[in-house]
Amino acid sequence: MKVRVACIVFKTPRDLSAFAEACLRFTPEITIRPEQAVFLEIGKSKSLYSETTFLMRIQVLLRRFGKEWVQDARVAIENDAVSALISARYEVSNPMEALASLDLTSLHDFADPFLLSLKNRPELDKMIKTLRQLSLHQVDQFLKIPASELPSRFGPWSLYVRSQVEHRLDLAWPKWSPREVIEETLELAHDDYCHWLEPLLFHCKTVLDRLYSRLRGRALRCARLRIELKLESYSTVREPLRAFDFDFMMPQGSTRRTLPILHERLERELASKPLESAVRSLRIEMKETTPGYQRQQHLFHKRDEIEEAYASIAAQLSESVGKAHVFRAVIREERFPEKSWKKREHDKEAHADVTRVLAKRPSRLLSTPQAITVDREKIQFKKKTYTIESWSCVESLSGEWLESPNFQAQFRKYYEVGIREGPPLWIFEDEHRQYFLHGWFE
């Protein structure tokens, strides 16, 4: 059976999961290029509808999603995913014949139509930049370069890109399936009169209990949550739907630990913008889940309870001061001090070994080194003078030449300087013989 692939490409990035789910009526073989395009294999469905009918039905579907979806979308049907993407994206009827009009940036689409592997993008960008410097701007000019010369000039990846342009190798489609929605809705009676925080939290608890029971059954925890409140739609109500999104710093596994976080946020939000009328329905959706505990609760040790409590307080603190301001640190293997640590993103990140490799580091580090004036006996910083008592041996650091625009390495000579007025300072001298205060040993 002949393969026919339809590609719907959108100019502006958007969440396509709902649209892809709606396209399941046409075919079960669907995949997504994240936020950009939806691919459908319609060759096997030709007995159900023709390609012309399909194009008309897609337009109807797009209209249901909104006017901007119709204006933003381009549809094309070709014999493979790459050709369909190129046709739709660059609005060409036959990609093989239109290579002369395709800019070199389209090589990204040839190489990786499903955006599966971002690690090769920098290499391809570098190749495109070099080709432009050689006054080559179109794909057909790229094809004129002999294949034998590509690996030595641009690396092995360039040969793969060329073969994709010429032969359109069959690529395995990444698996896509509609996201399962875990939600619960509670319809409130008129006499419930849920207009303030306390009754609202009371009803949230009921709904959360059910949701967490479901999650526990699947050994999952909640990482993101959405609460939607539908208010009584009187004529004075300007916003009949209020929504609150929660992105927990650490996944939560129970109602008891989640309620204080909801209380913190809802108290703040409703104080600044109270509910305009009573709530008539409450919907809570678990937007994102993570694997939870599959083990049995330890009878003699409150290990799981302590971990849950820890996750809860971390999430509460992040609600209170901001998610970016509550973190755990992980040490990296970087020469320069300001890059030697970062905020932990995953539990599995391991620390680099710094005890044996690095010289002693100060307990305080400025985020940006501050310029100071140093002479034999004194340090001047922010109109204050400090008397130098001792200098340590020098520690020289150099690096970052790859990141600098001129490929020039940065050099720093670090000293621990003892001063009379306070704790020892950690200063460095750069390649321009300028001194900077970077930290101190408090």
Binding site: I313, H325, V326, R328, V354, T355, R364, E442
Partner: protein
């Protein structure tokens, strides 16, 4: 009846004896022979207070620590170098409103050690922190430039060079000791 009264009085005495001799848990430290009491406010002054604290925390790797700062300029790489267990550290950059997150952290009863800059002049604020620490059995370390005259602070230490310690005040729940 008289016998019963005598028995009751003896019982009351025994209970009273038990209560008055109830011990406060102490975290041992090579830097301070008396140790650091749990559920108390400890103020650290001196130029090397952070180094002193890190040396103390190195001896207690299992303790969960919440470290709050107004503006975060602690260097985690140095903490790792000093031998602290970074897995048990949670850092909070609280800005000007540090009291509210500090109170939450202590009240959660999750953290064994809470560290904060000493910014609280208000007696009520200190009293709140002291009661919360006692209830949570968490030790609150306050890092200060100069020692404060506050009865709520149980232990005041001046951290000197080479991790030497000068005890300015040491008070457990049932004893007061000031050299």
């Amino acid at each position: 009846m008289t016998e019963k009264r005598i028995q009751l009085a003896e019982l009351r005495e025994q209970i009273g004896a038990l209560l008055s001799h109830s011990t406060q848990e102490i975290l041992s430290s090579s830097l301070l022979p008396a140790g650091i009491p749990r559920g108390a406010l400890v103020e650290l002054t001196g130029h090397t207070r952070v180094e002193w604290l890190l040396a103390f925390l190195r001896e207690h790797q299992e303790l969960r620590v919440c470290w709050l700062e107004e503006k975060f300029n602690l260097f985690p790489t140095a903490l790792k170098q000093r031998g602290c267990n970074l897995e048990n550290f949670l850092f909070v950059e609280a800005g000007e409103t540090i009291f509210s997150p500090l109170r939450k952290a202590i009240r959660s009863q999750v953290f064994d050690i809470v560290v904060s800059p000493s910014l609280f002049d208000d007696v009520r604020a200190l009293k709140t922190l002291q009661l919360l620490s006692e209830k949570a059995n968490s030790t609150l370390f306050l890092l200060a430039q100069k020692p404060m005259h506050a009865w709520q602070i149980s232990v005041q230490l001046e951290c000197l060079n080479d991790l030497q310690t000068r005890v300015l005040k040491f008070k457990t729940r049932h004893e007061v000791s000031t050299p």
